[in-house]
Amino acid sequence: MPLAVVGLSHRTAPIEVRERLAFARGEVPAALVGLVESGTAGEAVVLSTCNRTELYLALPDERRGVEAAQSLLAGRLGQEPSAIASHLYVHRDRYVAEHLFRVTAGLDSMVLGEPQIQGQVKDAYAVARETVSPAGAMVGPALNRMFQTAFSVGGRVRSETEVGMGAASISSAAVELAKKIFGSLRGRRALVLGAGEMSEVTLECLRGEGVRTALVANRTFDRAQELAAKWGGEAIRWDEFGAALPRVDIVICSTAAPHPVLTRERFRKAIPGEVRNPLCIIDIAIPRDVDPALGAEPNVFLYNIDDLTQIVDDNLGRRRAQLPVAESIVAEGVEDFWGWYSGLAVVPTIRDLRDHGERVRREEVERTLKRLSHLPDADREAVEALSRALLNKLLHAPTVRLREAAGNGRGTAVLDTARYLFELDREPSDEG
């Protein structure tokens, strides 16, 4: 069965298109069942994230299946397939595996090497495996093996290369810096000044790392309460944040104030003596929220948006340098999978070819022996043996060649040729 992937991603479609095409988790089973029950797909998996929507398919009829998949996606936009053709891509056979392996390893992600995609691919695969219909399972041997190989390739890329190492966003760079000071952030206390989007994203990252107490201070107290409630923190009034400073390990500043809100004077008032424990201050506001002079305080580690950007740029550069190694792991995975899959496809053809030869041999031997009824049993057996030897000799080379073609990726074309030449697709009753 030919393989195909039909989809679009951040590389081919703007967010306005991607967000309309994306499948909610609850919508996926119905789409899978529709594809399989209609007979357009033998196996199907839908991968839908904020950056891509892709249908991975094993198709009994490749052309019809691809068209159905395109129609399904275009239909979500209420358009004809031709209207979104420029956004869609179609990969076939071994390139499906290559694409999936690159996606799973994070090599096709907007942020190179981002780790979430592997979990998203696993979710997509799990949903497909859990979905059943009267027509059967959504995932069969082909997609099962392909996705399992994808997880293995993704795991290898992460463990054997540094494609996923280091922070790749401002918020994760802030966390990386804090972790270089405190090690684990579990149980640490953080103060967030400002309740904007960046504050929220950073707070989310910190909570994800186990930060215990998150105090949120904002000029608008209601907004501070809202953010604190969302992330399990505690809202404090704006004029109280100074008093909170001695109690925290990390301060995240992201207000829209036009001038520094954490001056050295205010800091000194809050912490009159030497700072006993390290205090990490991440100032991601523009203009800056924190007086740069605070960085000179002995146990204070002050970083601004430029510092975080430098870390992100360095990390992304290092990730890119690892690409050749990662791509070679993907290529190994593709060879492994495609060798297996092509071999799988060639087995029925070889079996049909041998059955066909055996049927012809038997019929011809029987006809001949009827005319040679005077032959003693020993001679009749000799004729049988001769016919078998001839058949084996004649089929040996085609069998070997078919297996070789399967191994080197030319399997489909050679298989089609063999089936055509030996009329293997005709029913036995049609023959002679």
């Binding site: 054997e160 540094e162 190492m165 280091g166 810096l177 972790k179 270089k180 000071i181 405190f182 090690g183 003596g273 030497e274 700072v275 006993r276 424990n277 390290p278 960085g295 002995p298 146990n299 580690f301 970083y303 510092d307 430098q310 870390i311 360095d314 290092r318």
Partner: protein
């Protein structure tokens, strides 16, 4: 066999140290794991060398400069493996493994063989005394490595140098806690070692001479050990002060040893 295994251990320690250096320069964390494994094989070779000493000479390698340095090197190597595997701080090997290599190299240079020294203080008491003391000094060496890395990483973080050292060195808090525990574990061992030595002297009527280099070095080491721990008390930048104290104390202990050693008339002993 004894010398051969020591040379094998030395070579493997040097390879491990080189791998750690490459790991730092290229920021390839995988190499740190390989270096730890190589150091582990080195420790194994080292153990075999000391076992060969024991079976060959029918005595423990605790008397004489060469054997003593070798045992101390082994304990530092084990400390390096311990912090790499249990503490997940393989980069500390960047300091600990070269120290182990230096010690085993020195041992191989002076020769790992019995000194012929006739000790007044022998038997299980002596073994206990020496082993306890060496474990204490190995703890101080780990604290020293943590201190050095803490001070360097602190400077990198303050100066916003986000290069190879920033990435490779462990977090400040990890180094601080590991350094503290190395001293907390090391001090009782050294204290017990001194207590065993003193008790033996009292028991057999051989009072310790205050001018004896071993006594001077032992007591001074113990006092410095306590000072390094006390550096954590009080206010201000405790962790930074403690790191600095660990480095200074280690340096004083080493320098004192060398000075006492030069002035020591008997050439064969550890002191």
């Amino acid at each position: 066999m004894i010398e051969a295994m020591h040379l094998v251990a030395l070579a493997l320690y040097l390879v491990a140290a080189t791998l750690l250096g490459v790991s730092l320069a290229r920021n390839e964390t995988r190499l740190t794991g390989i270096a730890t494994a190589v150091a582990g094989v080195g420790v194994l070779g080292h153990v075999l060398g000391l076992v060969a000493f024991w079976t060959g000479w029918r005595e423990l390698p605790l008397v004489g400069l060469g054997p003593s340095l070798s045992v101390l090197a082994l304990l530092v190597g084990l400390g390096s493996l311990g912090v790499a595997t249990l503490g997940k701080t393989g980069p500390l090997g960047l300091i600990l493994v070269p120290v182990a290599a230096l010690l085993v190299g020195a041992a191989a240079t002076v020769g790992v063989h019995p000194s012929g020294e006739v000790l007044a203080f022998q038997g299980p008491w002596f073994v206990l005394h020496v082993v306890l003391a060496f474990v204490g000094y190995a703890g101080l060496t780990v604290a020293f490595a943590c201190g050095v890395m803490y001070l360097v990483q602190f400077r990198e973080l303050k100066n916003k140098n986000f290069g190879a050292i920033f990435r490779f060195f462990p977090p400040l808090d990890t180094l601080d806690r590991l350094g503290k525990w190395a001293l907390i574990v090391g001090l009782p061992f050294l204290t017990l070692a001194l207590a065993v030595g003193w008790a033996w002297s009292e028991r057999f009527g051989r009072p310790m001479e205050p001018g004896n280099p071993k006594v001077v070095w032992g007591v001074l080491s113990w006092l410095l050990f306590v000072a390094a721990l006390l550096a954590r008390a009080g206010g201000g930048r405790r962790a930074h002060r403690a790191a600095l104290a660990s480095v200074v104390v280690f340096a004083i202990v080493v320098v004192t040893y060398v000075v006492l050693r030069v002035g020591e008339p008997r050439a064969g002993g550890f002191l």
